[in-house]
Symmetry: C2
Subunit: 215 residues, 2 copies
């Protein structure tokens, strides 16, 4: 795929690519080998026009009147989404959220391997989870010695610690952060950041419930 | 607040309201009582114009040249977001994700009480978590007898079960669903749905890493 085409890909586009990828795997699981843009769009929750527009950013897929070959489109999307290789993930925080994330099977299935775990709690440091020893977070500090090279850091730490921990992993060379702490954190432009704020989602629901109740 | 004003509130606006609410509490925690739209916007990660525009949808806040009274704005935002009351939450799925969500303190602090837990695993049914007995999911079926009245259902079930479980809770009268299953689910228009798909966030990061690496 031409690199110049990828410059302006928005986060919404990437989310839709993820949705297409899921829909493709679902259809393939049903034994379907070729699908119309109509069917693929329907399964992905978008219009066929949106689907065609998104995919056209990355090259030519599908044949007019015949549809998309699902195996070849799956292959392309895996490559575009960076799912055709394995990523080294460091989990920062071994509390309830960290532990659930560590056990979350879809991560590993999609190529994300937790290769390091860090915490501040002396009771947790030294524990071994499925072959991964929990290290002291201080080991991430510059000059602390052996730091696992990490592609992605997953922050499962309290809100109050989030910015400091983020600064630490950025200083350790991590270029992508998935933040579960309920707080906005700042990172340099060269670092990709995604936040999962479960409380915000619940607030959207309580807002909606109040609104529904008011009608 | 006039009801008619709330009709077109987008999910992005609600997310920003949540961000303002967090920023307000943060500033108040620092002992600040009155803040300019500049400061509040900066803490929320938006422009002052965006902040003023969002808040103007809900009434008149702040005084030109003086700024926002943080306590009164916090009070208003709590009411708008539905955080000035408690919501009855049913947790469906008592696995790793469900267990982490159950222990996630910010939920309770914000007014969301897990009052019922359902699972299909005979080993889990009957367990009591912090005073809440895990019930068989069949108890949600129509006519199954006593169903806890729930405002919000949190789905922490495998992807393959998500749609069926969603249909069950909708039939049981639930009007808001927070879905953690990595799958799109369909609900009637009268039901509010939010999805937290952790795998999609990781895919956005692997996409970004691939893109960064390609530069």
């Amino acid at each position: 795929m031409p690199r110049s085409m990828r410059h302006d890909i928005s986060i919404s586009t990437v989310r839709r690519l993820s949705a297409y990828y899921r829909a493709l795997r679902e259809l393939r699981g049903e034994g379907i080998a070729v699908a119309s843009s109509q069917l693929l769009a329907e399964r992905s929750g978008v219009t066929p026009a949106q689907l065609r527009k998104d995919l056209s950013c990355f090259g030519h897929f599908g044949t007019r009147g015949r549809g998309y070959d699902l195996d070849s489109l799956t292959h392309e999307l895996r490559s575009i989404l960076g799912l055709d290789r394995r990523w080294r993930v460091g989990l920062i925080g071994a509390g309830n959220v960290g532990s659930a994330l560590f056990s979350y099977a879809p991560f590993r299935e999609q190529g994300f391997d937790v290769v390091a775990i860090y915490d501040v709690d002396p009771a947790k440091i030294g524990q071994v989870w499925d072959g991964v020893r929990i290290a002291a977070i201080d080991e991430l500090r510059p000059g602390a010695g052996r730091v696992e090279p990490l592609d992605i850091a997953v922050l499962a730490v309290p809100a109050a610690a989030a910015q400091e921990v983020s600064d630490l992993v950025v200083a350790a060379g991590v270029r992508a952060i998935l933040n579960f702490a309920p707080r906005k954190i700042s990172v340099p432009d060269t670092v990709a950041l995604r936040t999962v704020d479960m409380a915000i989602e619940l607030e959207a629901l309580s807002f909606a419930l109040r609104f529904l109740a008011g009608r």
